[in-house]
Symmetry: C2
Subunit: 225 residues, 2 copies
């Protein structure tokens, strides 16, 4: 067997520290464990994570580029505050791109509709626990776009959903309310079953818009803007 065959797919996965650190930090940001208080102390955080400043900074620069952190020259990084203005930018991009992805996945195979229905039932069972519900909701949306061949589009959507998750997680934690989508998902499934793409798109947009309509006033009230 030639050596080239191995080069195609390395046998073991070598994960750079920066990726692990990125995953950890993003998780903490989304869950609100790393709050947008003052600035982030690199030395402190790097020792807490058990790595040097180099991979930490690499990870933080990445998160900055994605909009989870802000970097001020000479003053380092800080978690980006939750702002109504930001939410009002993020959500429209999200429903636009998810709509485009659904269009690119059309028509959905019947098996997909069954999977969506199952996922929606699992979501329904998890409504009591906010963070679980959020994860199940996300699974439903991921399933919706599972057939989309545009990888770049999907990765952009994933990034935006991380942002949305941060906002919704904070909202649920802070207000105690749970944003529920079960009924809307069912309506979307019905539209899909009927082959009515335009209606599915409109409902999908409405689905996100409902979340945004919860967030807006709440963000205005807490006013971390």
């Amino acid at each position: 067997m030639s050596r080239a065959a191995y080069q195609v797919r390395p046998p073991i996965t070598r994960t750079p520290l920066r990726s692990e650190v990125r995953r950890l930090l993003l998780g903490e940001i989304v869950r609100g464990d790393l709050a947008p208080s003052e600035g982030i102390n690199e030395a402190e955080l790097s020792t807490r994570l058990g790595v040097s400043r180099t991979p930490l900074r690499e990870a933080m620069l990445g998160l900055t580029q994605e909009g989870f952190l802000t970097a001020t020259p000479g003053r380092g990084f800080s978690v980006r505050a939750l702002r109504r203005s930001d939410a009002e930018e993020i959500y429209p991009i999200l429903w636009t791109l998810e709509g485009a992805a659904l269009r690119a996945s059309w028509p959905l195979p019947p098996s997909r509709v069954r999977q969506l229905d199952q996922a929606n039932r699992r979501l329904e069972e998890a409504l009591a626990e906010a963070s679980v519900a959020l994860a199940r909701d996300r699974e439903w949306h991921a399933l919706l776009l599972a057939g989309c061949p545009n990888r770049m589009l999907l990765s952009m959507i994933e990034n935006l959903k991380d942002h949305a998750a941060r906002y919704e997680e904070a909202f649920m934690r802070n207000s105690g309310q749970v944003i529920t989508s079960v009924t809307q998902h069912r309506e979307i499934q019905t539209a899909i079953r009927r082959g009515d793409l335009e209606r599915a798109l409109a409902l999908l947009e409405k689905n996100w818009r409902v979340s945004l309509d919860f967030l807006g006033p709440w963000l205005e009230a807490t006013a971390s803007s």
Copy 2:
């Protein structure tokens, strides 16, 4: 005057090296000076740029995240090859987002239409020189979205246009052909003047699709895929 007033906007602009390096590298990649040959040697490139490996790597990680470079663990960075499959992912996202941005800018003020007309004339004058024409074309599109309040959307569009510019630059350099948009721009301007958003959107999509239709077969032929 309190000190806080100065903190709001630092008097002088401190630009980190990584940003400068990023700008330089992106320029070289878009213009094709940094070709997707073998891997990038960090030591070599850092001495050529006169900086250490640290800011260079920071810049390259950023460009990787944006899709201009690819990073293989243990084997470093290389310029991402031009692929038909990638172009077919990039352009649809671009016209989707630019459409959304135009929608968000609607209705355009009459002054904007005049500016667009001027920009289009400047484009017409520059058709002889490919790279200048590309820059003018880009100015026209920037003007089109000048009224869009969604900053995040605009920055995503800018990033995608850098990708598109790389493909079109390579196409023009390699094939000698110039993709011309003057007529299409005029049609879009007419639709805008008539207040026909839907038609403007359709024409905008067509505008990008024409570029993609030039690129596809050419990419297939050169087959760097």
